[in-house]
Amino acid sequence: MNRIYTSLILVFALIVIWTIYLTNLRQDNSLTVRYYTIEELVSIDSSISTSVKVGGLIKPNSISINNDDQLEVSFYVYQGNDSLRVYYYGIRPDLFKDDAEVVVAGSFNDNLIVATELQTKCASRYEGDLKNIEKI
């Protein structure tokens, strides 16, 4: 093996190790966020604030938008029988409505998710049931 290859492989290995080190699984790692199911989140101790990412559906009729400031919203996300309240301030995606599939990220404290990110699954998926049909 000659010098140049050895040094390149060494640099590669060092940066790979650095990358792996940065994404360590410690709770307080600011680069990572754990994804929870709603079921898991309901059962954990929420007296201390944890940063979370969670996916679910928007509970029908749970969206409440502040009349004085329409950017402020709270709603419930649900999955099966479990649901959790989410607070969000900011522009909502166009597909934000009852039963839309959402992913929220933010901090979870006292059974409330204060979301800093709110995404609906969209664009490419537009399947769903056929709308204009007649049964025979």
Binding site: L71, I91, D94, I133, E134
Partner: protein, 660 residues
Amino acid sequence: MISQIGSLALSISGGLILSTFFFLFYYSIKKNKIFLDVSERGLIAVCFCVILATLCLLNELLISNFNLQYVSQYTSYETPLFFKVTALWAGQAGSLLFWTFIMSIYSLIYINVSLRKMHELKFWSYIMLSFIFGFFLLLSNFVANPFEPVSSDIIVQNGNGLNPLLQNVTMAIHPPTLYLGFIGTTILFVMALSALISKSLTFEWIQSIRRWSLIVWTFLSAGIILGGYWAYNELGWGGYWAWDPVENSSLMPWLILTAFIHSSMIQEKRGMLKSWNILLAASTFLLVILGTFITRSGIVSSVHSFTAENLGPLFLGFLTSLILFTVYWFFKRLDLLKSDKKIDSFSSREGGFLYNNLILLLMCFIVLWGTLFPILSEAWNGEKIYVGATYFNQLNVPIGLVLLFLMGIGPLLSWRTTSNSKLLSNFKIPMVVSFVSGVIYSLFFGPFQLYPLVTCMGIAFTGTSISNEFRKSYMKSKSKDKSIASAFTSMMLNNRHKNGGYIVHIGITLLFVGFIGRAFEVEKEFNLSPGEEIYFANYIFKLNSIKSEARDNHYAFISDMDVIDQSNNLLTSLYPEKRIYFYWNPDPEKRQPHSELDIYSTMRKDIYSIFSAYDAEKNQGYFKIMINPLVNWVWIGGIVMVIGSLFAFWPSKRRDYGVI
């Protein structure tokens, strides 16, 4: 009727693949060339059947045959003709058929042009092509058949129509362009492995695979940039890249393909790095399939969800078999790939290409690690953990900056070795220019943000270095030619490979100009009633009115907002809209709101406006304004990149035409 023909063509192509396999097997025993020819024709027939099936599906989309599930899900009578065509790749079943369609066209070119000159690759190429075709035809015939009829107890009066977000010209060009890139890697894979297995890594082969890789690279680059352009102009979050798994899946093969294009040059010039090149060429396709697995299996949460649960395991099985196949043959042929020459000098052109490979591979690893992290962490301790944009930026930005400088360093190095005195004289000017730009930048913007400052210096360094290369070859050409124009033309045309490469590098340097802007983005969300105004980022935003209007396929609230600059001049008026598609539908759940952006775009900055909500009671609009500096340079850089690679691809002499 037509749909039956399509469905039949699809089944026949499946049968043909099986018989092709049979003939290939027979050939491997009997070694009678006739069986190889028969299997070649079999493959060609498969390609034509797939093309026929695709045309049939297109026909059904155009005539709105709502008896087909696929047609009724993605089009309606109201869908404009142009978007009925694009519905061909809007959904799962259609896009898989479309994939096989593009693969058919590439395979026809590969079989009829490339393989004509490389007979020794035929057998293994056909085996691999049949296997890959077999997989996709299996999906189209049994898992996601686009010719599936709607259930027999209903009549569809009108289809669902195409998502308004996809009814956009960019979105019509972006997927096919990206597909042309993705699927082109199939040929690279087949070509690399068939040469490896049949032990014929000829000079002709390396030239041919390099040309293929340029085609694929051009489409892949254009596809990625178009995707960013669409996201920026349609989605309304003001950015063009979010490190989403789907985006990462297209970036990884691009990075490895770029590495291949560089390191294969060492093989072309000096006959080295054969094994490495084979591995890179094969990996591009493996990464494409990995990406397809990630995006279509729903294993990683992504905003682009093409989720269809039934495809994940199939793609995983396909990927695993491809990886095992590659690894097996790679180790079996390792002795063939050894080179007796060595790269001895750190400061040589070869060294430069190796550094390039190191950087691109590292970036690919970082992206791959981040994308797969949720899966890996879940396998490790049962917790699904995501890494965000911060991770990708924190690691990739500094490495990307090294790449930026490297693009300027490369041309300054000679093949084999560069003497110290030559190094010094070559580096002098770019270093000085880079340093001076750094000082000027700091005087204007302050040296407080490290990355923009270093990027600016890198752009100056690489820009100077490449321009100097052009100047040198111009002087050489000028010494022979008299007129400026003819000297310039012959300089450009003489070495298209090299010049094309430099043009691509200029394009990438321009991309970096756009990336600097990201450090200076600002945004604000606010609400205004007509007549009110707000001050933000040295501009006054004054809302004149909000009008409403019923249009052909939607209802629109149109705002009219003036942007007034510091010296009290009207800079522009913005008209972002809030639209409601399907507004006539009595069920509010079926209506779909859509924010149509308005962007005031200049070379220095974009003023990006979103009309996010309308409060009818108070007659109040909710807006988001973003000031995004230098975004246009990203698109310009992208265009320059594509022009450069087309330039490099264009054959320079007549005899080159045959070599694809």
